[in-house]
Assembly symmetry: C2
Homo-oligomer: 380 residues x 2
């Protein structure tokens, strides 16, 4: 194995696949990045068994230099190869396996050799493309991820809730996340008719989000992301980067009937005002949780919070409109804050169907995304 490559291109590719490398894996080989040098490209792979990222760098390019002298493969610890390549004193770096796995990196006045690991000990990762394939704008994928992932559960008691459920029926896909106290639902139109129902780990989606974000900056804006699915895995192809994640086993709960459709009260309010008011009151916590009380009527809307130990916060906010009888309802400040924050609209509509019933938060100008929060019972 022997090649010479632009430092900048190599750094970017290593940083992309390093996202999948965990520093706490029980399998030492997975601390490494696998380098496969073929006749006309090199291919980097990083994986933590749940999520795997493969980046292909073709030799023929006007944007960077890549000269392949000899094919072959080796695995090098991710922290070490990143460290060496980032700090190398030349624009082009030469990489050569000397004997077995001992690998030499040469720059201008620097020569560094490291003990690699045997590529035969690296787990076999099946990158075969699943049969169901759809394509999507990068911005659409980013919206799905940022608007749903935060609402997944971080507890392993119900593993299926640690993922986002993707359910397609015809050309409509519903993406749902819930930790059973709140729920986020995003509806997306697909480029054809599909039938699937699968759950992708939130952790994988967050990594896919970071990679998408990074790579769409470098790519032509019109380039679509290709998503391939079966009942075992999901693949996301972004330019020359392939991200593959396992799915979560188990049946995702039916959430449709949790979402109320009839409402008694409706508050329309500036999103920033609501976020600031909740944030200001958040220093008041009981057992680490900030409970906010919303009191609304035709004349005024008051956000308040109170704890015996810490103190009180009372704030009037200017509503854009309020419909319905006077209302008093209490909720987790963080849940409503998170929900409004990901909506990104400047005005939000909050619809209530009773003081102990879940309420929903929506943008006034975008009905593809819905946030639901359960109120909390207070005794004061």
């Amino acid at each position: 194995m022997h090649f010479k490559i632009s430092k900048r291109e190599f750094i970017n590719a290593l940083s992309t696949v390093s996202r999948a490398v965990s520093s706490t894996t029980p399998l030492p080989l997975l601390l490494g990045i696998k380098i496969d040098v073929n006749e006309d490209s090199i291919c980097l792979t990083g994986s933590d068994a749940d999520i795997s990222i493969k980046k292909t760098i073709p030799a023929a390019s006007d944007d960077y230099c890549l000269t392949i002298m000899d094919t072959g493969s080796v695995v090098i610890k991710a922290d070490i190869i990143n460290n060496i390549v980032r700090k190398m004193d030349a624009d082009d770096i030469e990489v050569e396996v000397l004997d077995g796995t001992r690998t030499k990196f040469s720059g201008h006045s620097v020569e560094q050799t490291v003990s690699g690991m045997n590529v035969n000990d690296y787990p076999v990762i099946n990158f075969d493309k699943p049969e169901t394939t759809l394509s999507m704008e990068p911005t659409t994928l980013m919206k799905i991820i940022t608007q749903t992932c935060f609402a997944t559960s971080d507890k392993e008691t119900r593993p299926v809730l640690t993922g986002v459920n993707f359910k397609a029926n015809g050309n409509k896909m519903e993406c749902v996340a819930t930790d059973s106290y709140r729920l986020a639902k995003k509806v997306v139109e697909l480029n054809g008719d599909y039938q699937f129902n699968l759950t992708i780990p939130a952790r994988s989606l967050r990594e896919i989000g970071k990679s998408t974000n990074e790579m769409t900056k470098a790519l032509d804006k019109n380039e679509q992301i290709e998503i391939s699915l079966n009942d075992k895995k999901a693949q996301f192809l972004i330019g020359d980067t392939l991200i593959q994640t396992r799915l979560i086993d188990g049946t995702y709960p039916e959430t449709g009937k949790l979402i109320p459709t009839e409402f008694k009260n409706e508050l329309v309010v500036d999103a920033r005002d609501m976020l600031n008011a909740i944030d200001r009151a958040s220093f008041i916590r009981t057992d680490g949780v900030s409970i906010i009380k919303l009191s609304a009527n035709q004349n005024e809307v008051v956000i308040s919070s109170r704890s015996q130990e810490v103190g009180t916060s009372i704030e009037k906010i200017d509503a854009i409109s309020y419909k319905g009888e006077p209302l008093e309802i209490s909720f987790s400040g963080r849940y409503v804050f998170d929900a409004i924050q990901v909506l990104t609209g400047s005005v939000v509509k909050i619809s209530f169907s009773g003081e102990m019933r879940p309420f929903i938060i929506q943008n006034t100008d975008d009905d593809t995304i819905l946030q639901l929060v359960l109120p909390v019972r207070t005794y004061s």
Copy 2:
């Protein structure tokens, strides 16, 4: 206690005194900031018992608003008051003790009350000014701190080495820090004749450095720092901010005789080249330590590192000059890196007096600062 103050001025003052507040003190009162409202000023105090910061805000100022309605004192938890004041929805904030220690903060549409703590339970901090007083340019104090503190010991086995020793004899002050493997010595001219020998905790000096840095930005550049000392404490007065620290008990070791005065070899080299070479080799560690070998002769200078487990690094660097016989010497990469980094000069001179003798690193154009490093013995 009742006053109204510019939000910006209040935030700055709170952030200054918060530096001294530790989040892990065993004394709950020290989690708080003491507010004393006098007839014509308010005074904030934060302390962790070792270091205390007092900030005075005079009522008469054209730069900000401060209106005092009623004198008095209260102690409020630092995290809570910082949180409230930062997020308040008005340019001016009104603060009022309602009953006992319950304190109300009012902005535009917001009212928040918190349970304060009783000022009588707050430790009595003696801010009396010690007799020995000298003044110093802020930049000089900053140089002393950045060029010596890093070389103090972080182990409590010899407490006196966790501080920087300040020894004045006439109008010359020597500031020395050592962890017994390396030593930093800065010599400063004083504005008069003094005799003292005291050791200030490095942790306090770092805080003083941060405050000095922050406050000199806001102050007239010509404003001097007033330093007052006795055998118990040191005070630093920067504008309206008073920082007071305890001293470390115990006799500081005589370090003068450790510093060699005769040299066999002398290497002059670009500081950036040397830093980069050490940094590049630093991925090679044995038991967490990066050991660097310097091989120098009239023709070439090579920086190398080797470990059985990780690999090797070999780099030629261009020396500006080298005097003496060929030399091979090994040292901790981090120690030499730290030493060169704080010198800030673009060219450094390294003077050796033998392969197992301490060597010194200096700027070629500034002889007030000297860095000494002990070599390490290697068996390869």
